[in-house]
């Protein structure tokens, strides 16, 4: 095991405006090595495969256990978290690229601000009267809790958006993760008080009707968020709202 090595080929880019280029590195590969620990190895010894000393690669990461959502990248062409990509299980050489649907900042780092702006657009929070002690929260069945929990594990990693054919750099499509958050907040008894506002936000441009139902989002989600269910449910909620609005006007 000790002297095994792996070749890592990385698409790099110095800044948002420059062209990308490829560099390869050979790093030692111990048992249970993952893509992040390989990148750290490169940091400690930034020498390319052909022996050139270079500047280390840059990437984003934090928790290293697939819960913070930072380290999304394309690994052998597939979007996923780098921390759980165990090198022993990957095809070699391992090819790393930044996500393509978000602006590249540098090397493997991209700017996912859009995801967080989308959360604002759909009112992804619960309005409360204040943080002072006004007693218990609403009574809620454990099965509703379980549904909410499954949705609430979304870590805004962006895998689902990278894979989605409708989501492009220059459109305003909100994407599966955002639709799923609408469902999450509408499921909460207090959150539901702002349901109409959320639904309106997903009925406009870039909203739920732009979804082509390709369902590739759900296949790549590392957290197994039931995205197709969410999309169907939000579709249903918006249709009902449309009918309601029609009769109220």
């Amino acid at each position: 095991m000790e002297d095994k090595t792996v070749i890592i080929k990385i698409r790099q880019q110095d800044d948002p405006d420059s062209a990308s280029y490829w560099q390869s590195f050979q790093v030692p590969c111990r048992h249970h090595e993952n893509v992040i620990s390989c990148l750290q190895e490169i940091q400690r010894n930034p020498v390319t495969l052909d022996g050139q000393a270079v500047i280390p690669v840059t990437w984003d990461c934090n928790c290293l256990e697939e819960v913070c959502g930072s380290c999304t990248m394309l690994i052998n062409g597939r979007v996923r978290q780098a921390c759980t990509a165990l090198v022993e299980h990957l095809e070699h050489p391992v090819v790393l690229e930044p996500m393509s649907k978000f602006p590249v900042i540098r090397d493997l780092q991209v700017d996912r601000t859009r995801m967080f702006e989308n959360l604002k657009k759909v009112h992804a929070w619960i309005d409360i009267d204040g943080t002072h002690d006004i007693g218990e929260g609403p009574v809620m069945s454990d099965s509703i809790r379980a549904q909410r929990y499954a949705l609430s594990e979304c870590m805004s990693c962006g895998c689902c958006l990278e894979a989605c054919p409708q989501f492009t750099r220059d459109n305003t499509f909100l994407g599966a993760a955002t639709f799923s958050q609408v469902r999450l907040f509408n499921l909460h008894p207090t959150g539901a008080l702002a349901k109409e506002e959320r639904l309106e936000a997903v009925m406009g441009e870039g909203g739920i009707t732009d979804c082509g139902n390709a369902q590739v989002c759900v296949e790549v989600c590392p957290k197994n968020i039931p995205l197709t269910e969410s999309i169907a449910e939000i579709g249903r909620q918006t249709s009902l709202k449309m009918i309601r609005d029609l009769f109220q006007k």
Partner: protein, 647 residues
């Protein structure tokens, strides 16, 4: 002075920073919040098991007073009691608030909050959201902060790094120097108060359960600028993590809270599959030694026992430094629902399913009980005067601290599920202190000469430039590894003065090598290396605080274990004997030897004498490049410190 909103600068968007931001907004302050990454990605998302509050939902007779006592006892009586008591009394309201803002806490049949057991207590006191409680709490609080951002009260500086404090000639903190991590530009933020909520320092060790940004650099920088650092030597080693090379991924205490059992084969080096080892050939060593608390003894105790079974008794699984954490007797559905988050982690990183085979685990560096020294004002009745500007104030006026970065709540050893609580409690509780301090300021930041800010900015621009130009031979990332390995080898579960001295020299050598660093990235765009070199400098200083504090403290207390100074508690000792002994002494009576079983009086005298000497907060001040250590009294005004016992 025309009325304007108080302006608070919060560094850090984990649970402490987010709660402070939310509460300060509600108190009409203007908040600027700074973080390395999107707040939603802060280290607090890693917390798994849950958060404590003595709501007594299961009618076991629990109460905030019990919660208080367990916490104080768990911390070996080193925490200031009114603060801990106030936190425990606020805890139920905090949980209800979190429930109201949408945290998907597990629920009972009636649709109310469900609680589980955790270490160091006999009550079901831990509210939880599956096994990703921290993630769920961060999201709910981040959402509330986003709500206030939408109202224009919050400005987020995500992808920004705090470099240092702006301190005026009177010694008052007036703002912070910040670096934009994209364009690497350096600038200052001005405010009435600065709150450090920058989390713990796990990266001082080569491997830990912590996230990569947890370098402790921000707190250390405050120390370098004059803030006092307290109880640095108290580093919690969590008993159960997956051994690994880049990170030791935690297997939460909730695994044991839900019935997980720790064992090793009775025969050394037994190579059989765990399921083939019959019950009578298994050594459930925690359950055997501690029948009352069993697998849920406090972490310091559990880690030491695992260390002992592996290294002194050579009973590690297959001869390796590992023991089993076994959940296989529980149903798949139960495990999926209650512990799905950690089971996934184990499966993804080891390829094995804990529902089928016992996990192999070992202790890991996890949490810092110590941190920036902070103040408080009690109300004279064993709780806190919430209006006082002293609460959570560091020794630099205008600088506050909250969350893992402060030191006040966990004494010498933290109980599980109390950290999320202390983070949120401090974040909320300090808001009035910050507002009252700001409103009473004579001169406000607008009145301060601009040269104060310009000088601070210039200092950091020059410093980062000089780091970028370092052209020696040492790779900074490798040097970090070397420092962290030194700490792992010498300042861990079992400590002794020779090794600690060696470690201190070792750190000084690292400090020498630091001067010969090569900055491997010299670009000016999204360049992480100069920042890292600066953080490494801070980590070196912090490891000195930890090591010197450990070297000087000649006793055993909580996580700080030095066998040479073990007081050797008799195995049949009952802590109530000690209270009785104190009572008799208090009444002026001569306590005769024969009043207690043989050896007990001697032990109690040793214990009393040791407390007289060591029941003190360690304070580190930065002086001439080294930490100068002094000691300060601990507030024990509510319950009498006594020997701990868990069997």
């Amino acid at each position: 002075m025309p009325q304007r909103r108080v302006r608070a600068i919060i560094i850090g968007g984990g649970l402490a920073g987010l709660s402070a931001a939310m509460k300060l907004c509600e108190r009409q302050a203007e908040v600027q919040i700074v973080s390395f990454q999107f707040l939603k990605r802060s280290h607090s998302v890693c917390a798994q098991g849950g958060i404590n509050a003595a709501i007594d939902a299961k009618n076991e007779g629990d109460s905030p007073e019990n919660h208080f006592f367990d916490t104080i006892k768990g911390g070996d009586f080193l925490a200031h009691q009114p603060l801990v008591r106030d936190m425990c009394f606020q805890a139920p309201a905090i949980i209800h608030l979190l429930d109201r803002i949408g945290v998907p806490f597990n629920r009972t049949g009636e649709g109310r909050l469900e609680f589980r057991r955790f270490g160091g207590t006999l009550y079901s006191r831990t509210a939880f959201a599956g096994a990703t409680t921290g993630q769920q709490l961060v999201y709910a609080l981040d959402e509330q902060v986003r709500r206030h951002e939408q109202n224009g009260q919050v400005t987020r500086f995500e992808w920004h790094e705090f470099l240092g404090l702006v301190i005026d000639p009177q010694g008052i903190c007036r703002g912070a120097v910040i670096q934009d991590l994209r364009n690497n530009k350096i600038f200052t933020l001005k405010g009435d108060a600065v709150v450090l909520a920058t989390g713990g320092p796990g990266q001082v060790y080569a491997r830990s359960t912590n996230s990569t940004v947890n370098t402790g650099a921000a707190a250390t920088q405050a120390y370098l600028q004059g803030a006092r650092y307290a109880n640095g030597e108290f580093i919690q080693i969590h008993p159960t993590a997956i051994p690994g090379q880049d990170k030791l991924r935690l297997m939460s205490e909730s695994a044991r809270g839900e019935g997980g059992r720790i064992w090793v084969p009775r025969t050394p080096g037994d190579k059989r599959e765990p399921r083939d080892i019959p019950e009578n050939e298994r050594n459930y060593f925690l359950e055997e030694k501690y029948p009352l608390y069993g697998n849920l003894v406090p972490r310091d105790v559990a880690s030491r026992e695992i260390h002992d079974i592996v290294f002194n008794r050579n009973l590690g699984v297959g001869g390796e430094p590992m023991v089993f954490l076994d959940l296989t007797h529980k149903s798949r559905e139960f495990l999926e629902d209650r512990l799905g988050g950690i089971i996934d982690i184990y499966r993804k990183f080891t390829g094995q399913d804990p529902k089928e085979v016992p996990m192999r685990i070992f202790p890991a560096v996890h949490y810092s009980m110590g941190g920036l020294w902070t103040d408080y004002k009690d109300d004279g009745h064993g709780l806190i005067d919430h209006g006082s500007p002293r609460n959570q104030a560091t020794s630099i006026p205008g600088l506050y601290a909250a969350g893992e970065v402060d030191y006040q709540y966990h004494g010498a050893n933290r109980l599980g599920a109390n950290s999320l609580l202390s983070c949120i409690y401090t974040g909320l509780m300090m808001s009035r202190a910050v507002i009252n301090f700001s409103k009473n300021l004579g001169e406000r930041f607008e009145d301060i000469s601009s040269t104060v800010f310009d000088d601070a900015e210039r200092y950091w621009t020059t410093r980062m430039d000089s780091l970028r130009r370092m052209d020696g031979k040492e790779n900074p990332y490798q040097l970090h590894q070397d420092m962290g390995s030194l700490m792992l080898a010498n300042v861990l579960i079992v400590r002794d003065n020779k090794a600690l001295e060696k470690a201190y020299y070792g750190i000084q050598e690292i400090e020498e090598r630091f001067k010969d660093i090569k900055c491997v990235d010299t670009t000016h765009w999204s360049n992480p290396t100069p920042s890292f070199i600066n953080q490494l400098y801070c980590m070196i200083q912090l490891s000195k605080i930890i090591t010197r504090g450990a070297l000087m403290r000649d006793e055993c207390r909580g996580a700080h274990f030095k066998p040479d100074f073990d007081l050797k508690q008799p195995s049949d000792f009952d802590p109530y004997e000690y209270l009785d002994y104190l009572e008799q002494k208090h009444q002026g009576e001569d306590v005769p030897e024969y009043a207690y079983p043989a050896g007990h009086l001697d032990y109690m005298k040793r214990f009393e004498e040791n407390n007289r000497k060591w029941l003190k907060t360690t304070i580190a001040n930065y002086q001439d490049g080294e930490p100068r250590i002094s000691y300060e009294e601990v507030d024990t005004s509510v319950v009498v410190p006594r020997p701990r016992k868990y069997d």
